[in-house]
Symmetry: C2
Subunit: 335 residues, 2 copies
DNA sequence: AACCTAGAGCGAAACGTTTCGCGATGGAGG
DNA sequence: CCTCCATCGCGAAACGTTTCGCTCTAGGTT
């Protein structure tokens, strides 16, 4: 492998001049050509480790997500990865299998790897630890969920309005008893989505039945159980919205098992994965998060911070969701 | 950040002794204790970059897959990542968005990052380039598809037997006209899955109609079109097997749109994702690849190579698939 | 004509490790 | 008692960069 030394020898310049060239410093135009050619001929590539030893930069970003099997996160990661690559940054992607213990461990691992910055989805929300990273000038971008009381950049979907609009659509279809299958109280997103539900009821002056707010746990089983519970009620809801992908799956399974007719017996709006809306019958209405936007925004915000631009820190980007109403939602009719 | 120097000063030993300790060399037991404590106190962490500069090891593995949005791959990646982490290796994960051009570019990127080894799913199958890596003693493990004419370690599912068994199951249900929705001719996996179809027909002495072998392209649209084509035939198949996940989705969409009754009008076996088998009605029969096995095997094979053990190179691990027959498959009845 | 300044290139120290070869010690074997 | 060898620790060079401060030149400003 050719080193900077070889290039220096080949061209007759000093090592420092080559280094200058490599880093975009002032070098005479004609000499630039000479060096460029030499690099070509020798196949010289900068040794990141050696450079990093001096600069304390690894040109590597750590990405930490709850699960690599969750397409919502991996889609975003894929976008981020591409954006960062354009700037010469590599990414180390870790998942913590939705395990609070592991989250800390994997985060530690990333830090050990000397990443220059971190983009993460935090469940545990270890305030002190993340603060200590920020103090060390390691930029951290929070994805999908904020951490209360922590001053940190954050990019997420507008969860409140997402559920607001979904429930609003149901109200416009004349539904009066609308169920919502929420996530765990501990999850930031779950709280926001619940708020949207509450607010739209207020705005439309609609009575709210606490029993119709189901506290799930963002798992398939949770969604399954929720529908079963709703169906055992004396006064069943005529419509229901599910607030994440896994529970949507579970809800559909329950609907199948209970032979509930959609949308005649129940209207339903799911969450996150547009693809499943196509394979179930009837086509499922869906709230879709702006994954592309989230990825792009997170990447460019991180780049900004890496360049030392801490303008408007801490920034929070709350990006608009989209709602697709399909045949799984119908006008409410009294039987 | 404390360096090895600080530890040396603190303990009174020389730098080289500390280094020796760090790398498991011979150090007096009592001194080991002293050093251990010093490291604790000072919070010393080895600087990978400095170490790597000497050893030419980054302790980083590159993983390259076609798409981060394909749960089959990400599940495997997640397992690999965990296994490698146990050995202190980090992973840089790239996807090439199913784009042959990008594959090479991303691979270059990984090489530029000085990864110690590579685990990849190759579509383009750039024989020369991968050979050049192997020549440079950079271990490469191929996942999911082999590259013809390249001597390289490889871990994949037993695709031939996967489709053999699926079609065999249909034959056992008395089906005579069985359709198969294959992948593109260029894909190694597609060829194997086709072979299984052919072989089981031979073994059971069943007539084979070439028209029932549909050459798809592993996309949702491809699966959709395949079912439509089959349904326009004079002599429709009574059962069909789909040979990847995306086409399975497409096939189900078509079945819904055409109002085909499963399994009365058509029995169907899908591929890869056990989860969708639960949310469609009736429950879908599925061929499942041993993702866990694939990941574990790939990781441990790579570790072996990294340690310089090139025993039985090139090794090919062909892992058994599992088949789950559900209600989407029924006994064939003449109408 | 004298003075400045910006541009261009150079030399050397520094980053934090690993590793090679050497010296010291001490116990085992003859 | 001498030799030998294994164990333990040390010093110094090396890995491939970046960067600071220096010199030199050429052109522009007074």
């Amino acid at each position: 492998m050719a080193t900077i030394k070889d290039v220096a020898k080949y061209t007759g310049f000093s090592i420092s001049t080559i280094s200058k060239y490599m880093n975009g410093g002032n070098v005479l135009k004609e000499n630039r050509e000479i060096i460029k050619e030499a690099i070509e001929v020798l196949g010289y590539k900068k040794n990141q480790m050696a450079a990093g030893l001096k600069t304390n930069k690894t040109m590597t970003i750590g990405i930490l997500i709850p699960s690599l099997e969750n397409i919502f996160f991996t889609t975003i990661v894929s976008i981020i990865e591409d954006e960062l690559l354009k700037e010469g940054y590599g990414t180390i992607i870790c998942d913590f299998k939705e395990d609070h213990q592991l989250e800390r461990k994997k985060l530690d691992f990333l830090i050990d790897k000397n990443v220059d910055g971190i983009i993460m989805v935090s469940y545990a929300g270890d305030k002190e630890y993340i603060q200590s990273l920020l103090d060390k000038e390691t930029p951290v971008i929070l994805l999908d969920r904020m951490i209360k009381g922590l001053e940190c950049d954050c990019v997420l979907a507008d969860n409140l309005n997402a559920s607001y609009q979904a429930v609003e659509a149901l109200i416009n279809h004349k539904h009066k008893r609308i169920g919502i299958i929420c996530g765990p109280e501990s999850a930031y997103t779950a709280g926001e989505r619940r708020k949207g539900y509450v607010r739209v009821h207020e705005d439309y002056d609609l009575d709210m039945d606490e029993d119709l707010i189901y506290n799930g746990d963002y798992t398939v089983e949770g969604g399954y159980k929720a529908i079963n519970d709703f169906w055992q009620m004396d006064k069943r809801p005529s419509a229901v919205m599910v607030t994440n992908y896994e529970m949507t799956i579970g809800a559909i399974m329950a609907i199948n098992d209970l032979d509930i007719k959609v949308p005649d017996d129940l209207s339903i709006i799911g969450f996150d994965n547009i693809q499943i809306s196509k394979i179930v019958r009837p086509p499922l209405s869906i709230v879709e998060q702006p994954m592309n936007d989230i990825g792009m925004t997170a990447a460019s915000l991180l780049m900004k911070r890496l360049k030392g631009d801490y303008q408007s820190f801490p920034a929070t980007y709350r990006l608009k969701t989209e709602i697709f109403i399909k045949e799984s939602v119908a006008k409410y009719r009294e039987d």
